[in-house]
């Protein structure tokens, strides 16, 4: 049987690979704290590293646009030339044709002098303000306290996993890992506030994340 610390790390990394941030508690090897920044309305992930146009709210397309011929060019274009006209007037523009950064020649000139709206030096980009799925403008931390252990003796009783009622709060879950002979892994996810209706058997790890953060 693997050490609990290794199981905890393995599950932590699996959660991280599925877009969840993990925190740990020094005093307990069997607990991790999972957090996701989500839209308060639709519960989908929020991305603070994504940027939008400060002026109109359009999302960064990560493309250059050639000022000479209007062609969009990949941001990974290493040549620095437009693929169409070979011009070098490439700017990281706002993709919204109705944005003032495109409609007003003076504003366009000033902003493009700094590389375009989405150039970091322009000062006209801002971290995501509105959900990319539903447009809502509030985000919130969704957090789960997760107990982790190997599935022992076919028991779903939290007491068998050293979990007391003092440990449980409204966001507490238990993940039990059941490693089969042929190295397949199954998981049981137990909502510690709804033990009678739990557990949920899961074979694909990403489904654990969906279950944990669906509400």
């Amino acid at each position: 049987m693997e050490k609990l610390s290794l199981i905890r790390k393995s599950i932590s990394y699996a959660l991280i690979a599925n877009g969840v941030n993990i925190y740990e508690m020094e005093e307990r090897q069997d607990i991790i704290y999972a957090v996701r920044l989500v839209c308060k309305n639709c519960n989908k992930p929020w991305y603070m590293n994504l940027t939008e146009c400060f002026l109109c709210g359009a999302i960064n397309p990560y493309l250059y646009r050639c000022d000479d011929c209007g062609t969009f060019v990949s941001i990974t274009n290493a040549s620095g030339h437009c693929n169409s006209c070979h011009g070098t007037n490439l700017h990281l523009v706002c993709p919204n044709p109705d944005c003032i950064s495109n409609t007003d020649p003076d504003v366009k000139k000033e902003i493009n002098a700094k590389g375009g709206v989405f150039d970091r030096d322009s000062g006209f980009l801002i971290s995501q303000l509105c959900c990319i799925y539903c447009g809502n403008n509030e985000h919130i931390y969704k957090h789960r306290k997760i107990f982790i252990n190997d599935f022992k003796r076919h028991s779903f009783d939290p007491a068998d996993y050293s979990i007391t009622s003092d440990d449980i709060d409204s966001n507490s879950f238990l993940i039990l890992r059941d490693v089969k002979q042929n190295t397949n892994i199954e998981y049981y996810l137990i909502d510690l506030n709804k033990i009678k209706t739990s557990p949920v058997k899961i074979t694909r790890f990403s489904d654990i994340v969906d279950e944990l953060f669906s509400k």
Binding site: S12, I16, G19, N21, I22, Y23, E24, E26, Y33, V35, L37, K40, N41, P45, Y47, M48, N49, L50, F54, L55, C56, G57, A58, I59, N60, P61, Y62, L63, G70, F72, V73, S74, I75, T76, P95, N96, I100, D104, D106, V107, E110, R120, S122, G123, L125, I126, S127, L129, C130, C131, G135, N136, N137, E138, H139, I140, Y141, H143, D169, S170
Partner: protein
């Protein structure tokens, strides 16, 4: 008991330098919260949050006497705070730090902990403030550091938080920040109203941040008043619409369709999608875009 207190008795905070102090300062903060009965969670992976702390408090904010009082008392609630720590050595008595737009969260449980690790040779201080209170402070004092070009560039240094050696107090410009210092700051962030009325505080925080973020000051970078007026007028005229989720969804859909029509090279579209996916996968990482 002092808060903070030097929990690592074998070494002084002042023994560290800028290059080797990151880990110890975050641990110092964590251990100080633990001493006061908070449960503390530290990051396993690189994120924008340095600590998560939780505690059970009574609805009036006071700490229950013991576990049996917690259980019996329906008036107890578990409070959670998401802490971003900034540690600085005062330079000319100034606590200088940088805020970027990605630091401005709408969850009212998000807290900034400004740790002055050498206020004096023997004294450390925590200045602790929720995002809601920080935004409220800027609004009420008519000071908006988020309107500047440098803020959106990501390198706006806040240099207004100062320690006055005459009276031994912290000030932001002329405004006292003693209400956010050490135990006083801790008391403010421990208010369970934030958790009990999460929806209300979240809306208020977003409203405050909208007001401060959707503003433009030309500074020295854009000297043209005409330019500034055009930009400001455009932003103001859009502000109400941008608070409407359906407007944002329609706008972004329109832009997507425009890009599909404008880009004939599939490789460019693939590049756009791939790079966007890469940025989304960085999720809440503290790394820059």
């Amino acid at each position: 008991m002092m808060f903070p207190t030097n929990v690592f008795r074998d070494v002084l905070p002042s023994d560290f330098n800028k290059l080797n102090k990151k880990h110890v300062t975050e641990d110092f903060v964590a251990e100080n919260f633990k001493l006061l009965g908070w449960s503390v969670y530290t990051p396993f992976n690189d994120t924008g949050i340095d600590l998560i702390i939780e505690k059970i408090v009574k609805k009036d904010g006071s700490t229950p006497l013991d576990k049996s009082e917690q259980k019996e008392n329906n008036e107890c609630v578990k409070i959670t705070r998401f802490i971003q720590i900034k540690t600085r050595n005062l330079v000319n008595n100034i606590f200088g730090f940088t805020l970027r737009s990605k630091d401005i969260r709408t969850d009212p449980r998000h807290v900034f902990l400004l740790y002055s690790d050498k206020t004096t040779s023997t004294q450390q201080d925590f200045l602790i403030i929720t995002i809601h209170d920080l935004l409220e402070f800027f609004k009420s004092t008519n000071h908006n550091p988020f309107a500047s070009f440098t803020f959106r560039k990501g390198n706006a240094k806040m240099n207004d938080l100062k320690y006055n050696t005459n009276d031994g107090k912290f000030y932001w410009k002329d405004h006292s920040w003693e209400a956010y210092r050490n135990f006083d700051g801790l008391k403010k962030i421990s208010d369970p109203k934030i958790d009990l009325e999460l929806d209300t505080f979240s809306k208020e925080t977003r409203s405050l941040s909208n007001e401060l973020l959707n503003d433009f000051s030309r500074g020295q970078t854009f000297p043209s008043q005409d330019f500034a007026n055009k930009v400001k007028t455009f932003i103001m005229s859009n502000r109400a619409q941008r608070s409407d989720p359906s407007y944002i969804v329609k706008l972004r859909k329109r832009v997507k369709e425009y890009l599909k029509l404008s880009i004939t090279d599939q490789a460019v579209i693939d590049s756009m999608d791939k790079y966007t996916e890469y940025i989304l996968s960085k999720s809440d990482s503290d790394n820059e875009e």
